[in-house]
C-alpha cells in the first residue's frame, strides 16, 4: 500500500473530482481489500463521476457497462459472432473438412465478441470497470455478476475458462429503484454518496467552471443547499448546479443578491418538473436568498 487517504483525495481533486474523506477511504479500501465498491445515492450526486475520476487518476481505461432491464449474458459478457461463423462454415463446405475441425475453427477466439465484463478482465493494465445503475438490471444478471466479481473468470462452454489477466477496479452504482440482493451487497464495499456540503459543492464548481468567482460559487452552492431542503419532487443534483452556475456566469451575474430576478428566471436549469417550478415562486427564491450570505 503506497497511498494514504489524504494523498488519494488530493490526487482525485487534481482530476477534477472533489471527494470527501469517506469516499477517499472507501476508494483506498477497494485497492487494499480488492473488493468492488457499491455507490448508492440520489440521482445526480456524481456517482458515475467517481469511476471516471478513478480511471483518470490511475491513467487506465474506463470500461462501462450500462445496465438496463433485460440485460443478459450476451450483452454483458460475450457473444459469438454468428454471421462470421456461418460464413466460415459455408466457405469450408466444399473443402471436405471434418465436422470437428470446422467446429473447432468457428469456436475460436477469432469469432468471439467481447462484451464489457469479459473485456474488463482481459486487459493488460487493470482497468476501471463501471457497472452503472445495476439496480436496473434483472435479478438474474446479479447472479452472474456475482460469479465474475468473486472469481474474476468467465467460463465459455465452447472455449474453456478465461482467467483474468488483470483484476479490474470495480465500481457499481445504484439509484435504489430496486432492492439489490444481500449477496451482492455483502461482496461490495459500500458508500452512500450524499449531496455535497455547500463548501464542497463550491469547490466542485470552481474545479469545473473556468472563470467562476469563488464568492459567487459559494453563494450558488449555499442557495442550492437551501433549495434541496425545500419539498421538491425532483431534487436537483450536482450536474444541475454546474449548469446553473455556468448559466449565471454566462449571463454576467456577479452577486446573486443583486440579480434576484435573474436567479428566479434561470431556475429552469435546476427545477425540472411542473410542480417544482410552480412551488418555487419569486417569493420563495427571495426567502432562500435571504438566508444566503
Amino acid at each position: 500500500m503506497t497511498k494514504t487517504r489524504e494523498q488519494l483525495a488530493k490526487a482525485l481533486s487534481e482530476t477534477g473530482y472533489v471527494a470527501d474523506d469517506g469516499l477517499a477511504t472507501a476508494l483506498l479500501l477497494t485497492e487494499m481489500l480488492n473488493r468492488p465498491l457499491l455507490l448508492e445515492g440520489e440521482a445526480g450526486v456524481g456517482k458515475t463521476e467517481v469511476a471516471k475520476a478513478l480511471a483518470k487518476l490511475e491513467d487506465t481505461e474506463l470500461i462501462r457497462l450500462q445496465c438496463y432491464e433485460g440485460l443478459d449474458r450476451s450483452d454483458a459478457i460475450y457473444e459469438w459472432n454468428y454471421q462470421r461463423q456461418l460464413l466460415a462454415i459455408k466457405a469450408r463446405e466444399g473443402t471436405g473438412a471434418a465436422a470437428e475441425q470446422v467446429e473447432e475453427a468457428v469456436f475460436s477466439e477469432k469469432y468471439l465478441l467481447e462484451r464489457p465484463l469479459l473485456a474488463a478482465i482481459r486487459q493488460e493494465k487493470p482497468p476501471v470497470l463501471l457497472i452503472d445503475e445495476v439496480d436496473r438490471a434483472d435479478e438474474e444478471f446479479e447472479a452472474f455478476l456475482l460469479e465474475i466479481l468473486s472469481d474474476y473468470q468467465v467460463s465459455i462452454p465452447e472455449l474453456g475458462t478465461v482467467e483474468a489477466t488483470s483484476i479490474p477496479r470495480v465500481v457499481l452504482t445504484s439509484n435504489g429503484t430496486r432492492e439489490l440482493s444481500d449477496a451482492l451487497r455483502r461482496r461490495c464495499l459500500y458508500h452512500y454518496v450524499d449531496y455535497p456540503t455547500p463548501d464542497r459543492e463550491a469547490r466542485i464548481l470552481l474545479a469545473r467552471i473556468d472563470g467562476l468567482d469563488a464568492a459567487l460559487a459559494l453563494q450558488i452552492a449555499e442557495l442550492m443547499g437551501k433549495l434541496r431542503k425545500e419539498d421538491l419532487a425532483k431534487v436537483p443534483g450536482v450536474a444541475e448546479t454546474i449548469d446553473w452556475a455556468a448559466a449565471l456566469l454566462g449571463l454576467g451575474t456577479k452577486n446573486l443578491h443583486e440579480s434576484r430576478e435573474l436567479v428566479f428566471d434561470t431556475l429552469a436549469c435546476v427545477l425540472k418538473t411542473r410542480e417544482d417550478r410552480s412551488r418555487v415562486t419569486q417569493e420563495v427564491t427571495d426567502r432562500l436568498l435571504g438566508k444566503v450570505a
Binding site: 494514504t4 483506498l28 480488492n34 459500500y190 452512500y192
Partner: protein
C-alpha cells in the same frame, strides 16, 4: 493490486480481536448483513497502520460493513457507542430501528441466555457456520409458502383485540403479499416458451450439425410483468383495516418491482417512495408523515380524478391491474365516481375492488358511490381477513 498480507493471529492482540468480534455481533443484531469474510477483512484493516487511526478506521469500517442506506445512517452511532468504550450490549436499540427487529433480538438473547451473559466473550465461542445460518435467516424471510394459522385466517381484522394477534396478522399479511409475488413471477417465466422461432439461436445451434437446423429454438414474447397499482382508502370508516392493509401493501411493494401505491382520503398521496423502505416500521412512519389527514372523510371520486389526471399516464400500462382497497363510503357525488371509474377502466387491464365490508353478514353494496363504481369493476371481493387476501392470488396469477 495489494496482495493480502498473511495474517497471524499473534499480530493483533487477542483482546482487540475479541472486541472486533463483539462489534460484528452487535452489528448483526442491529440488522447488518455481515459475514465472516467481512470480519477477516476488518482484521486486515486493523493491521494496516494507515487505516488504524480511529478517524479513518470508522470510515473504513463503515464502507466495509454497511450494505444499504439504512445501515449507513445508523453506523456512526453504533460505532461510537461500541468503540468509545461504553461497552454497549449486544443488540443495541438504535433510534428508528423497527420494533420487529428489536423483538427478534430480545428473543435471540433469551434463547441464548446463560451462555451469552457476557456478550463479548460469548460471541467468539460460537461456531462460525452457525452464525452464518443465523444471519441469513433474517426476518425478511425466505420461507415463501407461509402457512396461515387457521385460527387467524378466518378472523375479521376489526375483531382482533389482542395486540399480539394483530401484530401476527400484520406480519402474515405482509408475508402473504411477498409469497404471492414470488409465485406470480415464477409462473410468468414458465410462459416464456412461445410459438415463434428464434432464428439466431436456431442457426447457432445448427452449427454443430453442419448447418442443418435440427434443433429448433423457440421464443415467446417477452412478457411484461403484471404491474399492480394499489389505491388504498385511509378514511375514518376504514380505520379498523387501514393498519393491516398498509402492511399488506408494503409487502406487495417491497417485492413487486412493478408496483405503485397511492393512499387517498380527501386527497391523493403517492406513497411508493415511502413504502420502498424495507423496514416495515420505518416505512409506515414515513408514509404516515406523507399522508397527513388520514382518518377523515373520503372523496373517492375526486381522488380518482386526480389519479387519472396526473398519475395514470405514468404508472398504468396495458398489463396493469388496479387494486382499490376501500369500503366504498364516499362523501362526494356518485356520478363523478362512476365517470372516473370508467376512465380508469379504459386504461388498465383489470380493476379489482377489495371491500372489507363484503365479509360482513348481510352486506349489500347499496351505498351510492359503490353502486356507481361496480359496473366498472372486474372483481369485487372481500378483504376482511387473511384468507380473503390469500384468495386474491389465483386471480392475479391468471392475468
Amino acid at each position: 493490486m495489494a496482495a493480502a498480507p498473511t495474517l497471524t493471529n499473534e499480530e493483533i492482540g487477542a483482546a482487540l480481536r475479541l472486541r472486533l468480534a463483539g462489534f460484528v455481533r452487535s452489528l448483526r443484531d442491529s440488522g447488518f448483513k455481515v459475514g465472516l469474510a467481512e470480519t477477516q477483512d476488518a482484521l486486515r484493516l486493523l493491521q494496516t497502520p494507515a487505516v488504524r487511526k480511529s478517524h479513518t478506521l470508522k470510515r473504513a469500517f463503515r464502507s466495509l460493513f454497511c450494505g444499504r442506506v439504512s445501515d449507513w445512517k445508523v453506523f456512526d452511532e453504533l460505532f461510537d457507542a461500541y468503540w468509545a468504550g461504553k461497552g454497549v450490549k449486544s443488540g443495541v436499540k438504535v433510534s428508528g430501528s423497527s420494533s420487529k427487529k428489536s423483538m427478534k433480538t430480545i428473543r435471540e438473547l433469551m434463547d441464548a441466555q446463560g451462555s451469552r451473559q457476557n456478550t463479548i466473550a460469548g460471541d467468539v465461542e460460537r461456531q462460525p457456520g452457525e452464525e452464518d445460518e443465523d444471519t441469513d435467516d433474517s426476518p425478511s424471510g425466505r420461507r415463501e409458502g407461509a402457512s396461515i394459522a387457521d385460527n387467524l385466517g378466518q378472523v375479521d381484522f376489526r375483531k382482533m383485540q389482542d395486540p399480539e394477534a394483530t401484530a401476527k396478522a400484520h406480519e402474515l399479511a405482509e408475508r402473504l403479499a411477498r409469497s404471492m409475488r414470488v409465485r406470480l413471477t415464477r409462473r410468468d417465466k414458465q410462459k416464456r416458451k412461445g410459438p415463434r422461432l428464434d432464428l439466431r439461436k436456431t442457426i447457432r445451434h445448427s452449427i454443430a450439425h453442419g448447418g442443418t437446423p435440427i434443433e429448433l429454438i423457440r421464443k415467446g414474447p417477452r412478457q411484461r410483468q403484471l404491474r399492480l397499482v394499489i389505491l388504498l382508502d385511509a378514511s375514518g370508516s376504514m380505520n379498523n383495516y387501514t393498519a393491516v392493509f398498509t402492511r399488506f401493501v408494503h409487502g406487495m411493494l417491497d417485492n413487486f418491482r412493478e408496483a405503485e401505491a397511492f393512499l387517498f382520503h380527501t386527497r391523493l398521496v403517492h406513497v411508493s417512495s415511502a413504502l420502498s423502505e424495507r423496514d416495515a416500521a420505518r416505512a409506515l412512519d414515513r408514509m404516515g408523515l406523507m399522508a397527513q389527514g388520514v382518518g377523515g372523510g373520503t372523496k373517492i371520486g375526486e381522488a380518482l380524478a386526480e389519479f387519472n389526471r396526473w398519475h395514470a399516464a405514468r404508472v398504468i400500462h396495458s398489463r396493469t391491474c388496479v387494486l382499490i382497497l376501500s369500503d366504498g363510503y364516499d362523501t362526494g357525488a356518485p356520478d363523478a365516481l362512476g365517470e372516473e371509474m370508467a376512465k380508469l377502466r379504459r386504461r388498465c387491464k383489470r380493476i379489482v375492488w377489495l371491500n372489507p365490508l363484503i365479509g360482513w353478514q348481510g352486506y349489500e353494496p347499496t351505498a351510492g358511490g359503490m353502486q356507481a363504481a361496480l359496473p366498472h369493476v372486474d372483481l369485487f371481493a372481500p378483504a376482511h381477513n387473511l384468507d380473503s387476501l390469500a384468495a386474491l392470488e389465483p386471480y392475479l396469477a391468471s392475468l
